[in-house]
Amino acid sequence: MKRAGFTTRWLPILLLLPQLIIIAIFFYWPAAHAVQSSFYLQDPFGFGSTFVGLDNYTDLAGSGEYLKIARFTLVFTILVTFFSLALALLLAVKADKVLRGARSYRTLLMWVYAVAPPVAGFIGLIMFDQSWGPLTELARSIGWDFKLGVNFNDTAIAMVIVSVWKQVPVNFIFFLSGLQSIPKAVREAALIDNRSASGRFWEVTFPLLAPTGFFLLIINITYALFDTFGIVDTLVKGEPGNNPMTLVYKVYVDGFRGNDLGGSSAQSVVLMVLVLALTIFQFRLVERRIHYT
């Protein structure tokens, strides 16, 4: 069999060049800069920088506060990922069964996707307003004195709720199309073999959705780790105080608010390594074991 390919070696490189340049300028170059400055202590105005070796990293490892934030980020990521996926799956399964007005249901469920994270955060601020927020009042009506921005756990819960609300539509779209791509024949065969709807779901539908699910798992973990920045920033009103925050927000707080570029760069390098590990995990483990149809 003859391999299809280019006749010259230069043409593919030429065609790839624009993309490679963009990646180099906007990703590799800043990333290399971050790695470099993580070994330095810099005067904010850039008049001088001192090489400090691994000091910025050992400071992080020795900081109880940083570890606390890392722990919070882990819990936050697990909660956001789990609830975003679970709710979206539930909604997709239900929406898949709707026959009349299916389109309007789906459109309405996807709507929130268009909301930008800071706007979602702002809507959260209104819903959880200390004196007149509807959700605050709901919590009070069951005897829970909910206080956004005061109580650590309450603020964390608000962050999770807003982040999940914002992410569910994306997952919903993917799950729904995943459900609709399951061949009718398979469903009908299952219908004959198993009378229980939940049995059919767990034994037939769920495994067939696995490729979509694992893809979404990775997407949701990165969402919870990075893209929730706008929501966190809006909900704490730019004042970290005693509020919970994620690792990405901490990078911003130290680097952009506190002007500590070295320490902040070290934190970004830690996050880069995390993303790298996640990517390797995705390619090595997940992609091998999941069968795509």
Partner: protein, 435 residues
């Protein structure tokens, strides 16, 4: 003849240059949003209309922290504005970076503008000065924390605004609670209950003369008995229902006062303009920040808060001349009085203060004078100001620990030990960046 030719050519060139570059344009990055921003724009327009050689363009850059970061990033890229507004907590960063700014005192004298530091009211004179008392930043929106109170609430409770915290906890707060009010809220724990706690009681805030003598070896002195006793008292007031805390944000703590639920609110003298323009359901007035009689019998003046304007380095002589001209305009009594009246920030010169008095401003609004009167109270050894690097981060640490104290996650003792440790680590780190 040749000589004549050259001078005519020079003159012609000068004229051409004059008409081609009729105006020197300068930019001013600031952090004054909302009504304050409109007043900033009004001042810029007045300056532009007052002459035709220079034109200033104010640009709003977000919060104080954002404006500072934007200014620093711009400086590193060589695109810095002519004037950058930097808040109190960022002063050490900017003043420490020699070569980032042109000291305002040099800028003015080099451009033939008369400068005498004694023209400025005593409270603002040295806060943005270096160790040799040379003024580096031009004080702009200068404020101080003062106590606002709800006049009707005090009438109902039958008490007078307290002078001391002892009076507050034994007389005022119980009476206000009885009358159905939360006695006290405040909007900025590091600023009001820490920095100004130190100056009001004349306690040293940091070694090296509050940090003025250089970053090297400066250590924070926040872990002291007086302030720990204060925070312990605050938690007791909280338990007794005298004090409520609504989070780290400024507005969250001001809102309950504005809604008439709170008897006294500790805010900024610069809040006066905003409160006056709001349609409050009660009359408000203001008085000095209370003090602990147990700590001092002679309370002192407070630090100025707010921000100052720095002339960024790296601009040509013509630009700097324009900046100097704007600073001259800004310090005119008329400009200062306008700013003071509109916003509540204190007038920074004695002349402007005199003008406000002569005009009867304080007879119409006695509360407007509290800020400047408090800044003019007797000075002490520790009331000049403080100079600590990475102070924005130190404030964040304070806010975090204070929040934990007030939500019961930590004790006063542990919180201050943590603040002391983390602040000293940050100060040592800052000192390293300066060498």
């Amino acid at each position: 003849m040749k000589h004549f030719m050259t001078s005519t050519a020079a003159a012609a060139f000068a004229m051409a240059a004059n008409s081609a570059f009729a105006e020197t344009e300068i930019t001013w990055w600031h952090a004054m949003g909302g009504a304050l921003g409109e007043t900033v724009n009004a001042i810029a327009e007045d300056f532009n209309a007052s002459q035709d050689e220079y034109k200033i363009t104010p640009v709003f850059k977000g919060t104080y922290e954002e404006a500072l970061t934007a200014g620093i990033a711009a400086f590193r890229a060589g695109e810095q504005p002519n004037i950058l507004q930097v808040f109190d907590a960022g002063a050490a960063t900017v003043i420490g970076a020699k070569g980032a700014t042109v000291p305002v005192q040099d800028l003015l004298t080099d451009n033939g503008v008369a400068f005498d530091i004694n023209d400025y009211i005593s409270g603002v004179r040295y806060f943005y000065a270096d160790a040799d008392d040379k003024m580096i930043g031009m004080p702009f929106n200068s404020s101080s924390p003062i106590m606002y109170y709800n006049v009707q609430a005090f009438e109902k409770a039958g008490v007078e605004p307290p002078k001391t915290w002892e009076e507050f906890q034994t007389v005022t707060a119980p009476a206000l609670k009885e009358a159905g009010y939360t006695a006290l809220t405040q909007s900025h724990l590091p600023w009001i209950f820490t920095e100004n706690f130190m100056s009001r009681h004349d306690l040293p805030f940091a070694t090296n003369n509050n940090g003025y003598e250089g970053a090297e070896g400066t250590k924070i002195l926040v872990n002291n008995d007086a302030i720990k006793a204060h925070f312990t008292a605050v938690t007791e007031w909280q338990d007794a229902g005298y004090f409520e805390w609504f989070g780290t944000g400024w507005g969250d703590n001001a809102t309950p006062f504005e809604e008439g639920k709170v008897g006294m609110w500790l805010g900024s003298s610069g809040s006066f303009g905003g409160l006056s323009k709001k349609d409050l359901p009660f009359d408000f007035s203001a008085t000095y920040l209370p003090y602990w009689e147990a700590v001092t019998a002679e309370p002192k003046q407070t630090f100025i808060g707010g921000a100052s304007l720095f002339a960024m380095a790296g601009h040509d002589a013509a630009d700097n001349e324009a900046t100097a001209a704007f600073f001259e305009f800004l310090t005119q009594p008329e400009t200062q009085y306008f700013w003071h009246q509109e916003t509540g920030y204190v007038p920074i010169t004695e002349a402007a203060y005199e003008m406000a008095k002569a005009d009867g401003h304080y007879e119409r609004a006695p509360a407007a004078e509290i800020g400047i009167k408090q800044l003019s109270l007797p000075a002490g050894d520790n009331t000049k100001g403080y100079r600590m690097g990475f102070y924005v981060q130190i404030r964040d640490v304070m806010n975090r620990e204070y929040g934990r104290i007030l939500t019961g996650e930590t004790t006063v003792e542990d919180a201050f030990a943590t603040i002391e440790k983390e602040a000293n680590d940050l100060l040592a780190k800052f000192a390293k960046t300066q060498s």
